[in-house]
Chain length 780, copies 2
């Protein structure tokens, strides 16, 4: 099928008109169509709703302005600036304290930038859509409040209680780059209803047990935990986190051993049953949401492709897209793509043996457009072109480093090294480790690793060597170890810490077992999602940190809280025993809300939930007992997020393991690979096309391929398209059968909608013309 170049000379007009220019030439018209199609495809990819699609030329300009990385970076940096301001505002981190005038001005500046961003968005969306877009409206309101408050601060020259600072997070959440966080938040809110149901069950049992506990244990006057109903409730809430466990039981247990039954029953019901139920419910909801999300995204992409398709077909040839128009689309959709890749993408899409890409083929657009194309090498190794002797030497090294013997020898060396380090450290027993000379074992092992690195680099070629993640890891660890040796040898104190990283070498041992490889691979696949979940947690932390600082800054200090039951933990006393001064230190005064960094650490400690009641009781004893609400709400919020994180990890791993089990017979996969052959004739044809549109760089690129072919005397070159497998690919395979059903259901629904809206429409392929499209149909 080398005839695709003859469809290039096609100056026909588009089948569907573009949205803005109504009286321009066909050429300009096409350009607008390309651009709009590219926008549709972007919207499909980003899961942006189509009602935010730009509606006229002005909107389009604003859309383009607001959709590039420069603008995104501006958004992100403004949001970060606003968030980071809390480092400098009172109560500030001591080193970073700024004058009120300085930080308020900075804040006003950042807010003005946000105003500018929002006005661009309004221009693009139009006032109507802008109002309807909920997230943007919330952002506008927050902006308004922040603005007023910033001005008030500037005028009064003093900070008032500004809990609203907690709302600054919305600026970060709204960033284009934080799509993952938005998705997580949506998922959290969607999981909430069943979560709250079970939470109520939990609280209900807690109340019942609190009443029971109060009746049973309050007659015991040495029991401070159940003397009032409020204490009873609070202590059972803390018991839910097990944080006060044996202690809360001890006074009653000392009096009557059978009272342990109360606590065992409570913990069995609440902790071991209902808490797990919570996880089960969230996990189940999560599973369900993931599947529905995948489905809606899939159908959204499909609709986007349909819209784009409609803009790219001509009236003369309504059955498909020619390369010329496809190339035009890609110019806007992926400006960085070179001419060769564009043509290869077109060929990869085109399953029929006609020069046009049909709608059915075009549906694979997103799967194909991400492929990275490379000419298939004929040479196997990097040293194939070297002289005979050198070739043989390198070939020998290549065989050596690929042999099992070499690999297992290295594993043994690593294991020995690990045991060595362990024994050495065990023998050390304190003292200053770094003032000693460089130990000879360190040099020996490092030499072995160095030789290994050298052999592998030469045997495999640097490119192939570094293309494996594991090798990259080996390389960096060895490099660090070497830097550590340098630091030791030349006595560069600040770099001593590198020496400490030596045990990381041991991680290499985990390549040995398939399960670990699987786990680590999944870990790397999960990393982006995990990071966005972490960021989501940090955003919650930020909100709570601001609130905590506003209310609890400076309330705990050494030797505070003497009226509470946890006074010991806040103690800082200097005894003089004989001649020595013994410092008795409880340290808990360090867990305070005195600045945002301290608050974050305190909140992390609250997240871990062990001994969190000491922090709670400390703060409560210095403020009111309503402070407990803050800590309890924080616990519940982190419980929600943590449960979602657990559900996510569970889901991801179980999914992956199911996938592996289902595809046990298929070989180990290295992502998606596609092979396409291009003949010289085709390349020449495309060069012709580019020449006509006077695209010099593209022509030059393609010329190079022809030269290459001439050099090796080939009539055609095979190219390989590669990309890594994504979760979406896995899901596609897992839900294979259901997907067909979804498609059918979707097209049936659309057809019925089309029939309802315009019974006279004769458009094929069940394409639903958009409403905004209908207005500009006149162009054709």
């Amino acid at each position: 099928d080398g005839g695709s170049y003859d469809v290039i000379n096609d100056a026909s007009s588009p089948a569907a008109g573009d949205c803005c220019a109504q009286q321009s030439s066909a050429r300009h018209n096409w350009e607008m169509n390309y651009q709009e199609a590219a926008i549709y495809l972007q919207e499909g990819e980003n899961n942006d709703k189509f009602f935010t699609h730009p509606k006229n030329a002005k909107a389009l300009a604003a859309y383009l302005f607001a959709h590039n990385h420069l603008f995104y970076l501006m958004e992100l940096s403004t949001a970060l600036l606003l968030l980071l301001l809390s480092l400098c505002e009172a109560p500030a981190v001591p080193m970073l304290r700024l004058g009120i005038f300085v930080h308020a001005t900075l804040e006003l500046f950042a807010l003005i930038v946000v105003v500018f961003e929002l006005s661009m968005k309004m221009r693009w969306l139009g006032f109507q859509t802008f109002i309807r877009h909920k997230r943007t409206m919330v952002k506008t309101c927050v902006l308004f409040v922040q603005f007023i408050e910033a001005i008030v601060v500037l005028v009064r020259q003093t900070s008032h209680v500004r809990i609203t600072r907690a709302l600054r997070c919305i600026f970060l959440v709204d960033c284009r780059y934080c799509g993952g966080v938005r998705r997580n938040l949506r998922q959290i809110f969607q999981s909430l209803p069943p979560f709250i149901d079970i939470l109520l069950l939990l609280l209900f049992f807690m109340v019942i047990f609190a009443i029971l506990g109060f009746y049973l244990f309050s007659p015991n006057h040495s029991d401070p935990y159940f003397n009032t109903l409020e204490n009873s409730l609070v202590n059972l809430f803390v018991l839910l986190t097990t944080s006060n466990f044996p202690d809360v039981m001890m006074p009653s247990y000392a009096r009557n051993p059978w009272s342990c039954v109360f606590f065992i029953v409570y913990l069995s019901i609440e902790l071991y049953f209902i808490m797990n139920l919570l996880l089960a419910v969230v996990f189940d909801t999560f599973n369900d949401i993931e599947k529905r999300k995948f489905k809606s995204l899939l159908l959204h992409k499909r609709t986007a492709i349909q819209h784009a398709y409609r803009l790219l077909i001509t009236k003369q040839r309504p059955s498909g897209i020619s390369f010329k128009h496809f190339e035009g689309l890609l110019r806007f959709y992926k400006p960085r793509m070179c001419a060769r890749e564009r043509y290869l993408t077109f060929k990869a899409l085109n399953q029929s043996h006609t020069p046009l890409v049909s709608l059915k083929d075009f549906y694979n657009f997103y799967e194909v457009v991400g492929l990275k194309w490379k000419a298939k090498r004929n040479r196997e190794h990097w040293f194939d072109d070297l002289p005979r002797t050198a070739f043989l030497i390198f070939k020998g090294i290549n065989i050596l480093v690929k042999s099992h013997v070499f690999q297992y020898t290295m594993y043994t060396v690593v294991a020995v090294n690990g045991i060595w380090i362990l024994v050495e450290t065990f023998m050390l027993q304190g003292g200053n480790f770094f003032s000693r000379n460089v130990p000879w074992s360190y040099i020996v092992f490092l030499t072995i690793y160095g030789v290994e690195l050298l052999l592998k680099t030469t045997g495999l070629g640097p490119v192939e060597y570094l293309s494996s993640g594991w090798n990259l890891f080996d390389f960096s660890v060895t490099l660090f170890a070497f830097l550590g040796l340098m630091a030791l040898a030349f006595n560069m104190e600040p770099f001593y810490f590198i020496v400490v990283l030596r045990p990381l070498q041991l991680l290499r041992l985990f390549k040995l077992k398939k399960r670990y490889r699987n786990v680590l691979d999944t870990m790397f696949e999960l990393f982006p999602r995990m990071a966005s979940l972490g960021l989501t947690l940090l955003i919650f932390y930020y909100c709570f940190a601001i609130v905590g600082m506003e209310f609890f800054a400076g309330v705990v200090y050494p030797n505070c809280c003497n009226t509470s039951t946890v006074a010991d933990s806040y103690r800082l006393v200097n005894h003089t025993v004989g001649n020595k001064t013994v410092v008795e230190e409880g340290y808990y005064y360090l867990n305070n809300f005195d600045n945002i960094l301290n608050s974050f650490v305190t909140l992390f400690e609250l997240t871990v939930v062990n001994d969190w009641y000491i922090i709670m009781e400390g703060v409560t004893s210095q403020t009111t007992h309503w402070s407990r609400l803050y800590f309890m709400i924080f616990y519940i919020v982190t419980m929600v997020v943590m449960t979602i994180i657990v559900a996510f990890i569970l889901d991801a791993f179980v999914f992956r393991m199911n996938y592996t089990r289902k595809n046990q017979d298929s070989e180990e996969d290295n992502g998606i690979v596609l092979e396409k052959e291009i003949s010289k004739e085709e390349v020449v044809g495309i060069i012709e096309l580019y020449k006509r549109s006077s695209a010099a760089t593209e022509t030059a690129q393609l010329q190079k391929i022809v030269l290459q072919m001439d050099k090796y005397g080939q009539m055609s070159t095979v190219f390989l398209g590669r990309r890594s497998r994504t979760k979406s690919d896995l899901s596609m395979k897992m839900y294979e059968e259901e997907i067909q059903e979804w498609y059918e259901e979707h097209s049936r629904k659309e057809e019925s909608q089309t029939q309802l809206q315009e019974p006279t429409s004769a458009s094929n392929n069940s394409l639903k013309p958009l409403s905004l499209r209908q207005r500009s149909q006149t162009v054709i």
Copy 2:
């Protein structure tokens, strides 16, 4: 299809011979066949392997002796006696201490009973099979050891260190009634390999971080947690359980705030990632095992049915089982079943319109045999037969109690009651609650509940009222409340605790929401499995308690452990401040291993893992630091069991929710219901049959049905068969498609085996004649 009674007169000989009697009459022969078929079906139901099938008449007698509830109860009580002995052996619970002579004699007696049980088992299995049966062999060895030790104790008149007492659990595990525990243990062992893999990953990171922590923090002399590598390791192990969390960080955090990064990274990797990974891996394995178990059980049952079928068909009519033989089978399989039910079961199985049950129909045996049959009532309410006026009154009450208004009024009353109790308790604030008069609110609410109960009982009829679990719950709670009132009114102090149960009324509110009903239903369905999981945990507890008592009994006491860092928790000091004596009590000396009950409580505290290091350090400071191994191993074992419990709850709920989602459209189900009509002719036919075999009671029973029919002038009666839905039914529906594949695969495998074993076999239905069957084929 009323012709089934004419197949009764069938004195033909069985197609397959029985195992024992070779020269008996056809009648006796048939009886033996019935019995053996019943044994096969029992083996299928209990998932007993067929190689334990009794092989001759002596074995059969032993089998029958060892397979009835009397024998099972003996087994169970012997095992319990042996386990409970540890209450009386030194270190004994003070109240239950027995002399060495007494408890050693008791032990010997119990062991002799076990010997008797084992000899019966040997008689039934034969020596060869007995040796091959692993569990029995282990039991024999343990028995032998216990026997020798018991004699040694009796001779020396003093207890030596008897850790082997921990092995007594095997006697309980081997009980027929503890099948669930055996299944759990098997599941735990099957989940171990992947679990251990991830555990190694966990420990590996722990070692790396321990080395890092030692290097980083040991220069700080005020940090007792990282001063040696061993401490570093132990503290990071404890940190994994979060039990020492902010404390372990504090000394280094006080010195350098950035050291918190070390702990945050450690906890994020170990606690939040790898621990969840552990759960994911166990959950996944669990899921997989559940499915495979279901499959193997299903196929095992199928094979059992095939074996039984072969024993029940005659040479003359090889295409099915006649009622006569089916009835003979049921006489052995379910002796308690009455003649009517036997016939109904036969009819329910028989799908074809022939008088014989084919193999295909017979495959449903287990599903049908559990049904409880009842004649379908024509009257709707219990009061339909009453006079007009009474009928109208009761009808009115019936409509009232079924109305939504009534139900929601009751919910409101319960809610108001709940709030009332809460407020009342809140106002109380300490004091002796029980010396007061009966509060009027109590009487009012109790009266309302009493009236509700009365209305419901009369409106629905007592039988229908108590057939619902929720009503039963209402009834018992109201009864308890009434008993509490009596106790208060008549000042019966020991029953005061019943008053405390009042808040349980509030649980009724959970009927309101579908999710809660679902949760509670699932909870009840899960209860047997949960109980057996709990028992499994208790068995582990028992083993650890014995070991703990042998090593640590009496090592902790008030004011011990002064050399350790946790000395405060073990303190018991009387201060005299002014005139008052203030008792400063750490209470932790109560968490000891001084007798088995204390050990259990201590182990539960270790399971909850909060502050468990205080217990560990206390014991360690009084013994050697190797004691830590005991606590760490216990932590890991409970972690395994707890993870399995979590995985089980997760699996059960997710399965249930998936099932509900899959069958959303189908109405709410009340278990399995089957309807069968029996004509008078058929009943008369069966009476004939029973008369011939002179079974008087059966004849009388059936006669009654005929009389009933005559009374109402019916020619036939409809019977309803009911049973509750089991997990197996749900699984059947969930794996519907796969099950067919399994069957085909199974029968294919069997056919090929049959062909391999005896290529001349012409038996139809792909039945594989058993090897033990071949020996007795001569009878036919």
